[in-house]
Amino acid sequence: MESLRLHTLKKNPKRDPVVQFRLPADRRLCVLFFHKTLTLKDTNMAIASSLMEVEECEAMDIYIPEEWSEAADVIACSGGQTQTLTAFICGPKNSGKSTFARHLLQVLLHRHKRVAYLDSDVGQPEFTPPGCLSLTVLDRETIDMRIQPERCFFFGDISSKRDPEIYLTYIYALYDHYIKQYCQLPSASPSNSGVPLIINTSGWVKGIGYDVLVDMLKHIDPSHVVNICISAKSKNLPSGAFWSQDGDAGAITLIEINSARQDSLNRSVLVHKDSPHLRDLSIVTYFRQCFPSDMNMRSVKEIAQALAAHPPYEVSMSAVNIKHLHCEVPKAEIFYSLNASIVGLAVDPEGSEHLPRCVGLGIVRGIDTLRRVLYIITPVPQNVLEDVDVLLQGFIQIPTCLLQVHGCVSPYMASNVLPGI
């Protein structure tokens, strides 16, 4: 029962006034670079140099306070023989959960060959487009390769509130998969043993979001819980072992730290992020993979243009099941619902208790009811696609920038809509 409290802040960690984190697409960008580099300093340089080429270049040092590195070191060094290292990172929106998770990942990769990452932040995941829940295994060698999640489910919304129950089912299934593959078979595959797990969570820590978080904690029973706090106390998670009834953390090490960026009065400086914009960007980046990476496409507009002309996959209507995850669509209206929407491409499992495994996202770019085929754009390679027999529809909105290509405006972009409706 050891509770580390590192946020006492007797010594004020040296704080650079230039430190900023104002990048519009910080998540995406850092994902793109962090695994290429070994230290965060390099990461910054990589980002900066890549942005030199584009018009606006902001100062974007990612700042890791001493408190954070200490916490990460504590977690990394506690390599217990009894239990596999499992770090559960939680905290309110914009407190820096993903940044800390990335930092921890870097630190852990120095000591371990591979690290697993369970992403439950369904609105802004790290390695998948929005709407997906995934377990990804990273190693030091995955440089310059597209990281494919080890296992992925399509939840089909940007928040767990639409269906907390199925959300938890997916998370548990991912965790159970991790346990089965990396913790229970040490004799069969020794290389799989000792793979630590990082669990990142969403910033929804009040109301139903809190309940979901507590349920996750109870099921997963991690070795470490990192609770990141911001200065606005009312928005934080409760301190202490909030998930247990008697407030006893048991064998779990609880680490409470402050958000990285604070002003002179020790108030947290929250980054205002345009989340819908980031989501759109993330989706566009995902579909950018339909084209060779050496193809010169710099702007969203160019990608949208190219996607409109991109020869899609063709699949017979009878070869796939179409399912909406969150509402009932009248049978006769399926195609009205499906056209020009984003779907999860999933493989129907054999057993009934299994969940449909998602291999990627697709855009249903056209439907020919006479020929009875669907036209779908996706970066998923054909050999993987061959198993796909379920199209999961959800509420992941197709970015409007893909619909209003110059001279190619989608019929779903209407002008003359009454203002304020």
Partner: protein, 561 residues
């Protein structure tokens, strides 16, 4: 993976371009259909509207105001008060109805007022007043969230008032704001006309300038031409259909004013067409497609009425002869255009695949259409245009076949004129065309067959489409022209198909052509392939045939041709 798109600083810059808004309906027609059905008195059509709205809901971008309207209507459909004569399990108990009405009214007030109210400066009641929500609704919202559930009679009344208000506040004004295609053409028509005229004029001027005129003047006129061309191209990219139809109008006028034999008037337009098509080769193809379509419509009209339309301009349609001449003339232009484009292709390797691959399928498509149409009337213009098109495809056998066909046609008209005089003299020509087409299609089928039996490997569920034209997401690519077509999204029902077949058969029976036609291949209009069975349009009916049957038909056809 590469970093992308970080040029764009703000979301509004990239994502909120123009006044376009993401909507769940595919067209305003779709929206209007729902509006009409939703407020109709027939439960069946109301049900249809509600179903469509639930499809919209599943897309996730339905305006609250539509959702609320649907909820009120749906609840009323479950209320015996609004559905007298209806009894039984469809209806709901009173307190259930009350709760549904209350919930909807609450959502209406909160959902719609919240959008107009900025922060919490004014109360809900005040904000509701501003947009004229009936006071009753505000009271019910308060009542049911904080006090007793209101009475059913009250919420019923409120539901009616709410619907009236919703119509006044949203449905009617929105209907008025819809851009109707007619309006749009009227609005933009003038501009398009003037811009095209400007371009035509500037080109004329350049031609008229004698060669000894000062160089400066020439330069200026060149600038002028470029500017005019740019304007026209800009218009074309946003309103391709309108621009093409207006240009067509100009061309037809030019042609009519001159005689058919005298083409000088039309040739004045040649530089414009050439200049334009060099920039936008699609335009010429769209134009051709449009002309063929007009001929088709005209011929169909003629066939339906069973006689020639006597006065040429009564129906507002130009004469087929004019149209076919225009077609030939345009094909000539297309031919002239080709070599120059090829030159470009050799220098600009980047663009060449795009430019080259585009016309071929379209040309074949045009050729097909041209053949079907020309069979209906004796039409040497179209026939010669067809042979030019065939040459352009670079397919020698096709050219030969066409030549054979032409000679067949000539001999037919000589020898069997007495048989033919009862019927339109194009009859044999017509038949030959169809047989020829059938032969082509069957050959195609045979190829497919042999290909299929040759590579009987595991059939792939997912395959990349072989040829694709750029078109907006949510649309299907179009054979002719640059725009896509809005797909039909209704599920094709088996029963409906049956009905269609029946009516189709009846119509065929009226046609005198079929009576004479005793060959077992009547009309092979189209062929599809599904699960080893082939669908053939025989005598106006879709029939599934086996591979053997197809082979039999194929051999029969070969003898005829």
């Amino acid at each position: 993976m590469q970093v992308l798109g970080f040029k764009e600083a703000t979301s509004s810059e990239v994502f909120g371009e123009g006044n376009y808004k993401l909507v769940p309906w595919i067209s305003w027609d779709d929206w209007n259909l729902v509006r009409e059905s939703l407020f109709s008195s027939s439960p069946a059509s109301i049900d249809l509207a509600l179903q469509r709205i639930s499809a919209w809901r599943s897309r996730g971008c339905v305006p609250v105001i539509i959702e609320v309207t649907a909820s009120i209507v749906e609840t009323q459909q479950k209320d015996s008060y609004f559905r007298d004569g209806q009894s039984g399990s469809d209806l709901l108990a009173e307190n259930m109805l009350t709760m549904l009405y209350c919930m909807t009214i609450m959502r209406l007030v909160n959902g719609i007022v919240e959008k107009t109210r900025k922060k919490n400066e004014i109360s809900i009641g005040e904000a509701a007043d501003v947009i004229g929500i009936p006071r009753m609704l505000i009271d019910i919202r308060h009542e049911c969230s904080h006090r007793d559930l209101p009475s059913l009679r009250l919420v019923r009344l409120a539901s009616r008032k709410a619907l009236d208000w919703l119509k006044d506040y949203y449905w009617e004004p929105q209907k008025m704001a819809i851009p109707y295609p007619g309006d749009q053409t009227a609005n933009f028509g003038k501009e398009i006309k003037s811009k095209i005229r400007e371009l035509a004029f500037s080109l004329d001027v350049k031609q008229a300038t004698p060669s000894d005129s000062p160089v400066i003047k020439r330069k200026r006129s060149k600038k002028h031409i470029n500017k005019a061309l740019k304007n026209v191209l800009k218009l074309y990219s946003s309103f391709p259909l309108e621009v093409v139809s207006i240009l067509l109008e100009f061309l037809l006028k030019a042609q009519e004013s001159a005689d058919v034999a005298n083409s000088s008037q039309l040739d004045d337009w040649k530089p414009l067409i050439i200049k334009w098509s060099k920039k936008e080769p699609d335009m010429l193809l769209s134009l051709l497609g449009e002309v063929v379509h007009m001929i088709e419509t005209r011929e169909a009209l003629k066939n339906e009425s069973g006689e020639e339309l006597k006065p040429e301009h009564k129906s507002g349609f130009p004469r087929t002869e004019h149209l076919s001449y225009l077609f030939k003339w345009l094909v000539g232009n297309l031919k002239d255009l080709k070599p120059s484009r090829r030159k470009v292709a050799t220098t600009e390797t980047v663009n060449s695949p795009k430019v080259k691959s585009l016309p071929k399928s379209t040309i074949i498509h045009l050729l097909g259409k041209c053949l079907t149409v020309s069979s209906l009337g004796n039409n040497h213009h179209l026939a010669s245009a067809a042979s030019v098109l065939a040459q352009m495809t670079g397919n020698h056998t096709l050219v030969q076949k066409l030549n054979k066909l032409a000679s067949l046609h000539a001999s037919n008209t000589n020898t069997v004129s007495e048989v033919v005089d009862i019927y339109p003299d194009s009859f044999y020509n017509h038949e030959e065309m169809f047989i020829k087409q059938s032969a082509q299609k069957l050959e195609h089928l045979k190829q497919k067959l042999s290909h299929k039996s040759g590579t009987e490997e595991t059939k792939r569920r997912w395959s990349v489409v072989k040829s694709w034209k750029a078109c907006p997401i949510g649309m299907l690519p179009c054979d002719v022209g640059s725009l896509g077509v809005v797909p039909v999204l209704d599920i094709v029902n088996e029963e409906e198909e049956e009905e269609e077949k029946k009516s189709c058969g009846k119509r065929e029976a009226d046609c005198p052509l079929v009576v004479l036609d005793d060959s077992n291949v009547k009309k092979v209009k189209c062929c599809g392939e599904e699960d080893g069975l082939f669908g053939l349009m025989i005598g106006g009916l879709w029939k599934s045939v086996t591979e053997d049957e197809v082979m039999n038909i194929a051999s029969a056809v070969r003898i005829l041709v």
